[in-house]
């Protein structure tokens, strides 16, 4: 029992210590909490959607030309 308690305490300590470093590192928390990061994600997704669509179109046009042969 004593050992178990000790073990749990140790594990808890580990988590506490583990969670500590980095909390003071500046990240884009404000952008996240105000929700504006979604605007960036949206932009990137639109850009890539456009590119992917473009690639599919090229693929389709190419298939047409290949069939003509």
């Amino acid at each position: 029992m004593k050992k178990l308690v000790l073990l749990t305490a140790m594990i808890l300590c580990f988590f506490m210590v583990h969670a500590q470093p980095g909390q003071d590192v500046e990240m884009a928390d404000a952008l996240r909490s105000s929700g504006k990061i979604y605007v960036v994600v949206g932009t990137i997704v639109i850009v890539f959607a456009g590119l992917a669509f473009y690639l599919f179109r090229i693929d389709r046009r190419l298939r047409k030309i290949e069939k003509e042969k």
Binding site: M27, A52, D59
Partner: protein, 224 residues
């Protein structure tokens, strides 16, 4: 080779990349000094190199196949894979330089990995020069296939092996701990590994499109 005309794997690649774009920007990442949010670059910078390696590997396989079979198509696959790989090479270098500016302070700090990547780039530029300098078709295909087979392992050694033997700013090299031991956690892995697969597929897709165009050109120019 039938799969290059199929659509499912292209859709798969696009879907996975959408996932990495959204999850890569929104999921949590380790809070690290200096890197801050730029750690998310890992999802986009490193896959460029994976994509490059993928098409270069395919290129070597087809160079070997060409030497065995002498089929012109195999040479066309090899050259278009190198062309596509060069595109991802450039994107990889540029994204790396941008990231380096904010993580290491300079666009180009003569980091061993940067330098040897630049040398490897010239190595593949020489492949293009070599090809264009030979007019005779079969000779060109044969010589450039042999060159490609030699260039590939040298490129791998330059980018993957040599920088690891000396001190480098890149993670995983020299005295630097690798991404994955200290900097990366499972939250990043579930985005990074799918990104590797997806960008490799995108590179293959672009290479197949280039190959198909090249094939039409080749058939058009062929004398019947």
């Amino acid at each position: 080779m039938k799969f290059i005309y199929q659509t499912w794997w292209k859709v798969l690649a696009v879907v996975i990349i959408f996932y990495t774009l959204i999850a890569g920007m929104l999921l949590g990442v380790p809070r690290l000094p200096i890197l801050h949010e730029t750690i998310r670059n890992t999802y986009f910078h490193v896959p460029m190199w994976i994509a490059m390696f993928t098409v270069f590997t395919i290129s070597v396989v087809y160079s070997i196949k060409y030497l065995q079979s002498g089929k012109e198509e195999h040479d066309l696959v090899a050259v278009e894979c190198v062309n596509t790989g060069m595109f991802f090479f450039v994107i990889g270098l540029i994204t790396g330089m941008l990231w380096a500016k904010y993580a290491w302070g300079e666009f180009w700090s003569n980091d061993p990995k940067q330098n040897s990547a630049a040398i490897a780039f010239l190595l593949y530029c020489a492949y293009g020069v070599l090809r264009n300098s030979i007019d005779e078709e079969q000779k060109r295909a044969k010589i450039s296939a042999i060159y490609n087979i030699f260039a590939f392992p040298i490129m791998v050694v330059l980018i993957m092996v040599l920088p690891r033997l000396t001190d480098s700013l890149h993670p995983g090299n020299g005295g630097n701990p690798a991404f994955g031991k200290l900097d990366m956690d499972d939250r990043m892995r579930i985005v990074l590994y799918p990104a590797f697969i997806a960008w490799a597929l995108i590179a293959v897709w672009i290479a197949t499109i280039r190959y198909r165009i090249r094939l039409i050109e080749y058939k058009k120019n062929a004398i019947n």
